[in-house]
Amino acid sequence: MRIVADGLTFTYNRKTKFAKKALDDVTLTIREGSFFGIIGHTGSGKSTFIQHLNGLIPVESGTLTVGDLDLSKGKKTDKKGLRALRAKIGMVFQYPEYQLFATTVYEDVAFGYHNFFPEKSKEEERAAVFAALRTVGLDDSVADKSPFDLSGGQKRRVAIAGVLVSDPEVLVLDEPVAGLDPAGKNELMALLHRIHDGGKKTVVVVSHDMDDVAENCDALAVFSEGRVVMTGTPEEVFSRRKELEELRLDVPVTRKIADALAEKGLGNAFPLRSDDFVRKVAQLYRGKRV
């Protein structure tokens, strides 16, 4: 599903003292099959933007199309349409484990399935729930446990399974690794790549970690004060280091080193991804030895 936003604008607490323009003329395309990264400070409009994608926040002005569904203002989307949209655009909020509620893992994961496809049989539901649990790397045996008895990392995976259960075409995650330890973080990133599966699904992540997005994403959008200030591949975005630093945003380690090396005339066009970067440096180094 392709997502196209054009001139999207949204104001919180309109007409009050606390009015705040959360989105300001956001124009952005997320192509189908992308592993898309959204970066920017807290309050830059990232969360507001992603909540437009499944109609949680109705479009106030500008246009937004998700797949072939037009969510723009004035286009009446009925309840059924909205539900179908939400089944297709899975949304994982920050700290999703805090939204678990059912007495068993199975019931919690099945919640979304039941809401989206009330006409489906119990067998189909079971199949979907266990498929989702397996995708996130959880054993069938957790299904009967209480979600509140699991470890933090497991809880988060159950919550993600609860979104995956409707087999969404697009998975949107708001800071999915926040609060996890390094091992948990790596496991989760690997999981996202499994879901993305080389472009079979579109994955959109909101992240604060520049190195993470540089390693994992194929396209980025940088938000600042409600606006999209940059879009492009990670290489394109992080080549604009000065502008990013003016926005008080960091760049990946490889970029920093590449800049320092380039400045001393020791090479240029260093790749951003660490493996490619290492290969290039090794090549240069061997060149010097010969």
């Binding site: 990392g153 948990g184 990946p252 240069l284």
Partner: protein, 281 residues
């Protein structure tokens, strides 16, 4: 002198068989900056609570600035310990008692019955040290995560502690908020000689620490300098940790025939080394 000394400290949550902390022994130097690392559930937070005497060890001892927490179970000594070892928690939303910054910062001093004139002095110090003067009359709920955590630090500083423990206090913050908090904490250690214990998941917070401690399943898996720690990749893996970004990159370079050597932890170090290597001849 040691600020904190754990001697065979064991703690079990009531009703649990397995201890969360098993015969833990280590010490932290006064005025130092230490990091405590380890997976979620490895016992880091429990260790922090033992220092603050929020809980007491079932076996062994925890001595804070010469005071044994077990002996302080009741009475004034308990408050002496809590006063001298301040604690900042993980969730910025769950630490403020009052809605207005100033009213929250005075909570600690009021609790220990400090005279008003002294409280006024301490607020001034605490707000200044954390750079939160401009929020003095602001509503806590309208602050950013980083600002809330700085206010939480101010609330702890108002008691003039000699030790400040951060229990994953930066984990829910964005990079900007994290930097704000770490800058404040660094300043406290350098300029005011406060002993800082930073419990964290961020490896780059560990790179310039004086000492690093790693917990694994309630036991001490490592104690030493960050350089020593990050040289032991097998240990890191076993404890669910990772190398700081630059160190990871250095490792890959070494493996690919670029001899940047061991002991590189920061981007600056790696940059310098690479310049050197690529410049020769």
């Amino acid at each position: 002198m040691n600020a904190i000394e754990f001697t065979n400290a064991t703690y079990r949550y009531p009703g649990d068989d397995a201890p969360v902390l098993n015969s833990l022994s280590f010490s932290i130097r006064q005025g130092s900056f230490s990091v405590v690392l380890g997976r979620n559930g490895s016992g880091k937070s429990t260790a922090a609570k033992l220092i603050n005497a929020l809980i007491l060890p079932n076996e062994g001892n925890v001595v804070v600035l010469g005071k044994d927490t077990v002996r302080a179970a009741d009475g004034d000594l308990l408050f002496e310990i809590r006063k001298s070892a301040g604690m900042v928690f993980q969730n910025p939303d769950n630490q403020q008692i009052a809605s207005i910054v100033e009213d929250d910062v005075v909570f600690g001093p009021e609790n220990v019955g400090m005279p008003r004139e002294e409280i006024a002095e301490r607020i001034a110090f605490a707000l200044e040290a954390t750079g939160t003067e401009q929020f003095r009359h602001a509503q806590v709920s309208r602050l950013s995560g980083g600002q809330k955590q700085r206010v939480a630090i101010a609330g702890v500083l108002a008691l003039r502690p000699e030790i400040v423990i951060l229990d994953e206090s930066t984990s829910m913050l964005d990079p900007k908020g994290r930097r704000e908090v770490l800058d404040v904490i660094r300043k406290l250690q350098k300029e005011h000689g406060i002993t800082v214990i930073d419990i964290t998941h961020y490896m780059d917070e560990a790179t310039d620490a004086d000492e690093a401690f790693v917990l694994r399943n309630g036991e001490l898996a490592f104690a030493g300098t960050p350089k020593e720690l990050f040289a032991r990749t097998d240990l890191l893996r076993a404890c669910g940790l990772e190398l700081p970004r630059a160190a990871e990159l250095a490792k890959k370079l070494n493996e690919n025939g670029v001899p940047v050597g061991d002991g590189i932890l920061t981007t600056e170090e790696l940059t310098e080394k690479l310049c050197e290597l690529l410049q020769t001849d």
